[in-house]
């Protein structure tokens, strides 16, 4: 799983979202370092749906009506939540390891 996949799962962990909202959430969560364009984002969504981590869902009742075409909303599956938790644990461990090493090298 690459970083963008992780950020898409992270964005959807806050609730059902349509594609453009996912993109904005990814950009916000990553501090602007990740801002997927349309082709990249929907390939990630397609992959996550194919692997059973994301599924399409009905729009929330308070979703605004978008002119032009009907927006499709996506949400995490249980498998997606587990994958996100596992990835978060791995990233947390890797970050802690980096801090330990950087702290050790900073003291020396």
């Amino acid at each position: 799983m690459n970083l963008l996949d992780y950020h898409v799962l992270l964005a959807l962990s806050s609730g059902p979202m349509h594609g453009y909202a996912i993109k904005d959430a990814v950009a916000l969560d990553s501090g602007g370092t990740q801002e997927p364009r349309a082709g990249t984002l929907y390939r990630i969504i397609a992959r996550l749906i194919s692997t059973g981590q994301v599924r399409e869902t009905a729009p929330p009742s308070d979703a605004p009506i978008h002119p032009g075409h009907t927006r499709r909303y996506y949400t995490l599956t249980l498998a997606g939540r587990r994958t996100l938790a596992e990835q978060a644990r791995l990233l947390k461990g890797a970050a802690a390891q980096a801090e330990r090493r950087l702290g050790a090298s900073g003291r020396s």
Partner: protein, 260 residues
């Protein structure tokens, strides 16, 4: 602008395009509108990057698909269902045949005739073309015949003994040569008379065909000046072959019992 996105989205494989094409185009267009609101150069930059991104993503989707068409819904016919369908078909066929016995009789006779003809043709083809000749090296056997176009002779005729001697002495590509002639004759053994197919052959016919006797010895090993010998085949009507070995019948001697 929407036309541009609709065209470039067509680069995606059909399965992906059907599922996500509209969304990709809508998001690319939304990106452009948001960038255009800031400035024209930003809008142009957005178009360029979105175009390149969609082209690259379409290429990647062709090489490593993330989305394939859903398989057609299963009809739920497993092995058991398969046999159930067969049983229903056979039951229906049986009822239909009982309703019209005349048609059923003609059908059965037609099928029987067709199967008999097919089996007969296959037997002939299998014997003549598929099964090898019952000799040691059937792929090395050749049949030599003579032809004389423009003469009164038949299109194909047997070669004379001179040719046999010529081939035997001078041919370097032929290991062995035999010459024979076939006819039908009457065999009388005691009070028993049978019409039997016979062949007059040189003694080399057995070594040429790679045949060995089931009983006795080959005629080629007989001492000179001995009477002409006969070698009954395995299909010959001479029963009790061991007792017939060495027996003189008219002017010939039963020398061996061949497998050919």
């Amino acid at each position: 602008m929407n036309t541009l996105w609709a065209c470039v989205v067509r680069l995606f494989p059909r399965a992906f395009r059907t599922e996500f094409g509209v969304d990709v185009a809508a998001q690319a267009h939304a990106d452009y509108q948001r960038a255009r609101a800031r400035s024209v150069p930003t809008g142009l930059w957005s178009i360029t990057t979105s175009l390149l991104n969609i082209i690259a993503a379409a290429l990647a989707e062709h090489l490593r698909p993330t989305w394939v068409s859903a398989p057609p819904p299963s009809k739920g016919i497993g092995m058991r269902g398969f046999f159930d369908v067969w049983r229903l078909d056979l039951t229906y066929a049986g009822r239909a045949l009982r309703r019209s016995p005349g048609f059923a009789a003609v059908t059965v006779l037609t099928l029987a005739l067709a199967m008999g003809v097919t089996a007969g043709i296959f037997t002939v083809v299998n014997t003549v073309l598929i099964q090898p000749l019952p000799f040691a090296n059937p792929d090395r056997l050749v049949y030599i015949a003579g032809t004389a176009p423009g003469s009164d002779l038949p299109p194909e005729f047997g070669v004379s003994p001179e040719f046999f001697l010529h081939y035997r002495q001078r041919a370097t590509l032929i290991e062995d040569v035999a010459i024979f002639n076939t006819f039908t004759s009457t065999l009388r053994v005691g009070d028993r008379v049978e019409r039997i197919p016979m062949a007059v052959a040189t003694s080399t016919v057995f070594s040429t065909l790679g045949a060995s006797p089931m009983l006795g010895r080959l005629p080629g090993g007989m001492p000179p000046r001995s009477p002409s010998s006969v070698t009954p085949s395995g299909r010959c009507g001479l029963r009790g072959a061991p007792t017939s070995l060495g027996r003189h019948t008219s002017s010939v001697t039963v020398a061996a019992r061949s497998s050919v």
